[in-house]
Amino acid sequence: MTLNRQQTRVLLVLCGVSLLFTAFGMRLVQLQVWQRDELARLAAANRERVVHRQGRRGKILDANGNLLANSQSVRIVVADPSITVSNATTIARQLSPLLGMDEPTLVAKLSGAGRYVRLKQKVDEETATKIRQFKFKGLVLEDQFVRSYPNGALGSHVIGFVNHEQVGVQGIEAAMDNYLQGRAGYETIERDRKGREIRVLREERLSPRDGYDVVLTVDQVIQHIAEVELDKAMAEHRPQAGVVIVSRPQTGEILAMTSRPTFNLNEPGQAAADARRNRCISDVAEPGSTFKIVVCAGALNEGRVTLADRFNCENGAFLYAGRVLHDAHPYGVLTVEEILYHSSNIGAAKIALQMGPAKVAEYVRRFGFGRKTGVVLPGEVSGIAHPLNRWTKLSITRIPMGHEIAATPLQMLMAMNAIANGGQLLKPMLIRSVCEPGGGPVLKYAPVVVETPITAQTSRWMTTALRKVPTPQGTAPRAAVPGYDVAGKTGTAQKIENGQYVRKYYSSFIGYLPADDPQISILVSLDDPAGGTYYGGSVAGPVFREVARKVAQYLGLPAQHAESETQVAKL
């Protein structure tokens, strides 16, 4: 059978069409089967994008819910130089005044290598809106959280600050970083032809979670009072450093904690490292006479002495182990009570001798010295309290007057709190609760009793003696608070430089009020006050009085007795 010409043509066309369809089919198989995975990935990459969303860092609030730290959203201006290179000069000219950067720098960044260059961080919303209006291609505004501290330097050593990665590096910011940090989330979005997100196709993989809020025991008004009074003392006495801590003796709550020098939380990088140090927990010094409370409380608790027992104070010079121990003023025979409020070194040494070194060492430990208080803040040190086997023969007479031992201001305050609250050594509390963002508490903190070094009866005896310290008979008449019964103890410790005692002093006063039912306890310490006056009662006592008076007024503590007209006039 021979094909005619027409049939041959039809056959050829058919073959051609078949080949064409076979080729198309092969191509489809290649695209849909052989290269499927790769092409599907490319297509997805073209329209899909993974967006990371940052959880907001939690807030830090004071005891009354006042904001101490929060996170605010600002913008980062980002450029893709592969796109901006063609228009770098124009973009730089427009952005230069808005970003506060010079044009050559901007041009260099806009036409540099890579596809992601940060032009400026922490750009406010107003500037961001202006930049957006230019509609420059290759320019993106990304979100960024920055930490904001509305009160500036207030409570800086307690609150702490974060680094550029929003990770806490000091204070509560560091201690509670795990709670404060929000959890970052991410989601996959699909974009339309113009690059806009198609909302209905969004797939949320992991939702971001804001960080927990941390509520402190610190009260910003009391903190302010403490800082203002410390600043006044710094201006008047020009010491190298100063510390004020206010606490509740019954619970161990810290109501205010401040030290000088200080720094602005919004610009921590501008301050010297020295100013950023929280001296309340990181600096140790010989406490001086404030330490007599430990030995006297121990002796009373052990029944070795009573308040009425009498000791010969050797008229101010007591030879022991080949060294002479002096008193600031010569005293004859004093009772234990008088030894406390006259602050006799010889009397305290003789009480310790009566107790014996083992018991003294035991009470030093039971009052929490030589170990950390357990405050939540990072950077706390243990202080120095030598074990009994490292004591010299002189130690038994030196430790009672606060030498040969080193403590932080917080350790001293906690020891005084144990005397004030009926004998319980408490762990200092700085955090009241951890709350859901804008919601209820998920964690509540309660007072923790570390030890019970003395009985309630001993505590009352000690209060009886310490009440006379801020009276004309005692060492700190200027620490008396009009209207209130105050119990306290002064301290004036010589500083050691290069292993030698020098004529520089730590002046301190620790007290509580009302003496019978203590609601607040306050420690004031000034390191090397200038101007010739250095006694704790004269330098730290008045600061204590002013802080105590204002805090009592703020907390509405009822006065025990009416203020005299003279006292009112003085105020």
Binding site: Q72, H224, P558
Partner: protein
């Protein structure tokens, strides 16, 4: 051939069925398109609301920080001084403290509340003064 074919009468039922099926398919198709459009429209709406929410949250955080600053003791003291208001906290001797109200006060409150209002006169029932006014002297 044609002449041999028997003309069938038009069956209305079949036509109606076909129309219903076609209508249903058309309605389903149109509904699908409508619903799809609605989804996209609502998606856009949600996106806009999300953007608004984000902006409001940002502004809220900013205002919270500003409020905290205005409420800070340092700022309030500075403003008091600036305006010369002469405000000072009252001293303890200037405050009258009242004892915590006891059980009789708890009983007294519902009694007062339950007294029917003087409906005839249209005036509210007089409320007994239960506590002294707190006086703050300057």
């Amino acid at each position: 051939m044609r002449s041999n074919r028997k003309r069938e009468p038009l069956r209305l039922g079949t036509v109606a069925k076909a129309l219903v099926v076609c209508g249903a398919v058309a309605v389903a198709g149109l509904s699908y398109v409508y619903q799809k459009n609605q989804l996209y429209r609502l998606g856009d709406e949600v996106k806009k609301r999300e953007a608004t929410l984000l902006a409001v949250e940002k502004r809220n955080a900013l205002l919270a920080a500003q409020l905290a600053q205005f409420k800070s003791p340092a700022y309030l003291e500075a403003r008091c001084q600036q305006y010369g208001l002469g405000l000072i906290p009252p001293r303890d001797s200037q405050v009258v403290r009242l004892p915590e109200p006891g059980r009789e006060w708890d009983l007294a409150v519902p009694q007062v509340a339950l007294v029917p209002a003087a409906a005839s006169s249209g005036k509210p029932a007089p409320v007994k003064k239960l506590a002294k006014k707190v006086v703050v002297h300057r």
